[in-house]
Amino acid sequence: MKQHRKKRLLNILLISSLSGAGVLMVLYALNTNLDYFFTPSEIISKELPKNKRVKVGGMVLEGSVERDSSNIKFVITDYQESISVQYAGIVPDLFKEGSGVVALGYIDKNGLKAEKILAKHDENYMPPALKD
């Protein structure tokens, strides 16, 4: 009987320590792989994580879109602060001046070098950060 109990206790200890380690690993993976979401004002006011991919959300400033060969440059604004964005590739169909956009990429001294541009598939969409 005692032997049996000891075995069961060992099993429980083993299982809980393994699952504890598993949870820690998942949390670690989360923290090393997350993208921060900022509005242009937050980029100016907050300390930015270095060398991390960030998402910047806001509206495409009217009259700011410039295209040359396959590059596109535009300005994301929350109508308080703005940040310029560079992107090489095809922007989504719903990308247009004066509507909502989210750009994903790295910040350098020239602004945001985007790897991906998202425009929500809904014409009334506004990035959540702008709604508040």
Binding site: L30, N33, L34, Y36, S70, G89, D93, K120, H121
Partner: protein, 631 residues
């Protein structure tokens, strides 16, 4: 007038389902008479709801824009099948369909014969109660029957053009059929607990239902992936979008569940775990409905944000989960007299597989909810994307695949006997090792994790092929459904890794009559055409594609402008070959008159969906075999 009838029938159906539930509670549910009464009552509830839905379909086909929902999501210019599909293109109508499917599964189950009358009746009661909960949700918070009389609009606002695609017609129905199908094992498991007779093999009785629901969910997810690939123009098959993830979680849980069902039904082990899983699978399906319909998480799929809906669903799903888990813990002693797991037996390997599935589900859940928690804690918006999921899924899948390959010839209830079985394993390790080395030789810049995935993909496929060919020669039995499903897994891993190794893309600026070359593909921009269609105008570009062997094909990507919403969409053009897809999207026109053109070469992408089809086929074989065994 018709819409009021449809509305009224839905309310009546809710009342009849409530009556069915009450009958189950007050009648002596083991008797023959009450069985007939309950069965008929349920069938009436279902038929009323079905007629209500069919009238609604008729209203949509006949452009009845006095119904607000139809006026907002359909249009008289749409072809008929889009008018029907427009019903499930947004929240209210898709909820209507969702509940219809929920009651349809219950209806099929209701008609089936079962020797355990009491368990069956209690299950029908539970299903009825769940249906009532969702019908009230539909009628109170998301009423699709509201009218804008006396001044209906002349025409409807149209379906979102992105959704005007045959994919919309079939993808949601399959997905919903899969989601709600798990109501059968869920309610049957609970009814088994209430009935308190542990000798009933509920696992065996619900196996076909569960596997069939799993098949629908597999196909539904696969269709969604295929649709996103050609419609969204990003050329990917999976984006780790929160709404994809909430479909993936029940699929993972259901896959673990159908595995553990076969253990529990055969060997009287893992019974507690299997019952818990049946609750988890259904809860995850409901959780998916909550995430999509509450608007709590921002995603391209999510419907408009409505706190009232979110609260109702959260409360109702929470109540279902709380009640079922309470029942589970109160009755858990029923199942404690179990056989012990023998080490290296098939049961032990399936337990391991369930642990892996559990880790994946937990991580995915964390990935979905972590942004919410993080924002509450640090007041900082974050998102969790592909890098996190890749970091979790790749190593776990590799590990699970290795254990799968080792376990192939394990047996029920005992360990391995003959060591010579390992010989076949060594041969397949050799084959996949050589293939991986060859790949590494031709392409040196491949990460270790992708090489490892490539290796295990081939390992699984070659191991099963060897097994099948040897069994065929020695006339031994092969578990063909297991072989097909697992080779599907192997093919999935192999095609995903090969896709990520070889695929590439390039953006060009092209004027008509210009030619560009990329990776052995020569692309010539032939001409532009303006085309007028019933509900949109389109600019259609013609590209001549010449591949490395000199084969010529024409591709026609489009830009469309839809009249009703003024929205612009792109249609991709894809040339499918056995090895790769040549995938072209047309971007914007630049000021100098040239067009932005994106050319993608997507390797082995078709095999990703084919592997899901293999899994679905294996599920259908299981369903077919067990229904033949019953009759």
């Amino acid at each position: 007038m018709l819409v009021e009838i449809s509305h009224y029938l839905s309310i009546l159906s809710t009342a009849v389902f409530l009556l069915t539930f009450t009958l189950v509670i007050i009648l002596d549910s083991a008797s023959r008479h009450s069985e007939i009464l309950i069965r008929r009552s349920y069938s009436h509830g279902f038929v009323l709801f079905l007629i209500s839905f069919l009238i609604y379909v008729y209203l949509a086909i006949t452009d009845n824009f006095s119904v607000i929902y139809i006026s907002q999501h359909s249009n008289s210019l749409l072809p008929t099948f889009y008018k029907v599909a427009s019903i499930w293109s947004a929240h209210e109508g898709s909820m209507f369909l969702w509940i219809l499917f929920l009651s349809l599964w219950g209806f099929a189950f209701n008609l089936s014969k079962d020797s355990e009358t009491r368990i069956k009746n209690i299950s029908i009661g539970i299903i009825s109660l769940i249906i009532v909960g969702f019908q009230l949700f539909l009628l109170i918070t998301s009423n699709p029957f509201e009218t804008n009389l006396p001044y209906p609009p002349l025409n409807g606002a149209d379906i979102n053009p992105v959704l005007q695609d045959p994919g919309l017609v079939i993808h949601p129905p399959f997905l919903y059929l899969g989601y709600v199908g798990f109501v059968i094992p869920f309610s049957y498991g609970l009814a088994f607990l209430i009935n308190s007779n542990e000798s009933v093999n509920w696992e065996k009785k619900t196996k076909s239902w569960s596997v069939f629901a799993w098949v629908c969910l597999t196909i539904g997810i696969c269709l969604g992936s295929w649709w996103a690939y050609y419609e969204l123009g990003w050329g990917g098959y999976w984006f780790w979008d929160p709404v994809e993830n909430v479909a993936l979680m029940p699929w993972l849980a259901a896959t673990a569940f159908v595995h553990s069902l076969s253990v529990a039904s055969k060997s009287n082990t893992l019974r507690i775990w299997t019952l818990l899983l049946s609750i988890i699978v259904f809860s995850l399906s409901l959780f998916g409905a909550f995430i999509v319909r509450s608007g709590i998480i921002d995603s391209i799929h999510s419907f408009a944000n409505d706190p009232q809906r979110g609260m109702y669903l959260l409360a109702f799903i929470g109540a279902i989960l709380f009640l079922s888990l309470s029942l589970f813990s109160a009755k858990i002693n029923l199942l404690t007299a179990q056989n012990e797991l023998k080490s290296q037996s098939k049961e032990s390997f399936i337990s391991l597989n369930n642990i892996f599935f559990g880790v994946l589900i937990f991580s995915t859940m964390m990935g979905i909810t972590y942004p919410l928690i993080y924002e509450l804690a640090y007041n900082q918006k974050i998102s969790v994307g592909a890098p996190f999921y890749n970091a979790i899924y790749a190593p776990i899948t590799i590990l699970a695949s290795i254990i799968l390959v080792i376990s192939i010839e394990s047996r029920w209830g005992r360990g391995f006997k003959e060591a010579k079985k390992y010989n076949q394993l060594y041969v397949s390790i050799l084959i996949s090792g050589l293939a991986t080395l060859a790949l590494r030789y031709f392409k040196s810049d491949i990460s270790l994790i992708i090489l490892a995935s490539f290796f295990v993909g081939i390992l699984i496929i070659s191991r099963y092929l060897i097994l099948i060919s040897i069994n065929l020669r020695t006339n031994k039995y092969t578990n063909i459904q297991s072989a097909i499903a697992h080779m599907g897994l192997g093919l999935l891993i192999l095609s995903i890794s090969a896709n990520s190794i070889f695929s590439s893309e390039r953006v060009f600026n092209m004027k008509p009559n210009e030619t560009k070359d990329y990776m052995g593909v020569s692309l010539t921009f032939d001409e532009l055409q303006l085309i007028n269609n019933s509900n949109h105008d389109s600019i259609r570009a013609a590209f001549k594609v010449t591949d490395i062997n000199g084969r010529i094909s024409m591709l026609y990507p489009e830009k469309r402008k839809y009249f009703a919403r003024g929205q612009i969409t792109s249609e991709t053009a894809i040339k499918i070959t056995p090895k790769r897809d040549i995938y072209i999207t047309l971007g914007d026109q630049l000021e100098n008159g040239s067009w932005v053109v994106n050319l993608q070469l997507n390797y082995f992408i078709r095999y990703i969906w084919f592997s899901a089809i293999l899994m679905a086929i294996s599920g259908l074989i299981i369903v077919g075999k067990s229904s033949r065994a019953r009759s």
